[in-house]
Symmetry: C2
Subunit: 199 residues, 2 copies
DNA sequence: CTATAATATGAACAACCATTCAGTTTATGA
DNA sequence: TCATAAACTGAATGGTTGTTCATATTATAG
């Protein structure tokens, strides 16, 4: 059912493989998954149409490969940054900031991840479910440490993902005003998360 | 550039038009926009392939029509419910609850709205930008009334949309645990928005 | 009842696209 | 250098889909 990706062994093969992946990322971002043809990808990569099938059984397998790479990349980056600061408040702040900065550095990432909902719903569910479960661990520890109220950690995971995703969306698509200074945006977000919005 | 939708005049014509729209909603939800063919829609609607083109110039125009209908429907419903209670806290609570309840009642709505990002990015931007601008008006008034801290209303709009969307996603896709009692989920969300999460 | 407009049909056409494959070139290890 | 494996090619194939159109049916106003 699930065919395999063939990882090349030679230097040339690796270059071709990378050219396919890079072209696909660019095209999936610019035209979306469904409007991107194998022909588009191979042309942009500067290779023959048949060469694609040396490495990938089909377009879906290529998309899954890219999604997994992205997922690992984002998680690793957030984990590194978060580990470098102390206290849940600081960790939360750095987590949100890193997430949004990642979206700004790699604007295609947002598009490609969200599009999974329309390519294979299971991919989307696994992505956010996995993200939430990682989140929960940190939150649970913070409650034990007395830094956080005794909240429903699972619900808070989704709330914080929602906040990061939609503020990121605003910044990325430049919706509304004041999207220049990321650091000040994150400060504002944290202030709201810290104290709530109602008097 | 933008061709017109033809609204039928007779009773039979209206029935056919509705059958097309209902079939399309069902299929866009189940298989996604791109995997739904005009043939699928006309077959499910029980009409000939050519009949589709009596009313819609192409698939995109049909999608836009459905998206606009949905947008009006959601906004109207939220506006009605929110108008029936007093105080910003209660309004916010009812707004989030109505939004999630709508997603549960019409599970296709989520899919179809988010998919706009992959059909025509402008549709997506207009949708959320419009939603945020409406939100802001209410928040500004609440600050004047002294019910809310002097927050960045635009930022808070996106934060609250993010919360509602991701908690809605969790409930709709049944991610994690405890998705049965919507009322208690909303209570928890409100508690967190009210007081923040950090001690 | 009848003329006319509205509605409906589905075969036919043309464009597009994923995938295969027989043959060619290139790299590499011995 | 040379044998072998890896990498590469692009024309050809077959299936799918959006859209048109000549023709047919149905509804309705007068």
């Amino acid at each position: 059912m699930e065919q395999e990706i063939k990882i090349p062994t030679t230097r040339n093969g690796k270059a071709t493989f990378n050219a396919i992946v890079e072209s696909a990322i660019d095209l999936f971002y610019k035209q979306g998954y469904h409007d991107t043809t194998i022909g588009n990808i191979t042309t942009q990569a500067g290779i023959g149409a048949g060469t694609f099938y040396l490495y990938f059984p089909n377009k879906l397998a290529l998309y899954k490969y890219i999604l997994m790479e992205l997922q690992h990349d984002i998680r690793r980056r957030i984990a590194e940054k978060v580990a470098s600061v102390h206290g849940r408040y600081e960790k939360e702040k750095v987590g949100i900031e890193t997430f949004i900065q990642y979206a700004l550095d790699y604007p295609y990432s947002y598009n490609i991840i969200w599009e999974s909902l329309y390519i294979d719903k299971k991919l989307f569910i696994d992505y956010y479910d996995g993200f939430a479960k990682r989140y929960e661990r940190g939150l649970k520890q913070s409650i034990i440490d007395g830094e956080m109220y005794d909240v429903d950690t699972e619900l808070v995971s989704y709330i914080l993902m929602g906040v990061a995703n939609f503020v990121g969306l605003k910044v990325l698509l430049n919706l509304g005003r004041d999207n220049d200074d990321l650091s000040s945006i994150v400060d504002n977000v944290m202030k709201i998360i810290r104290t709530g919005i109602f008097k």
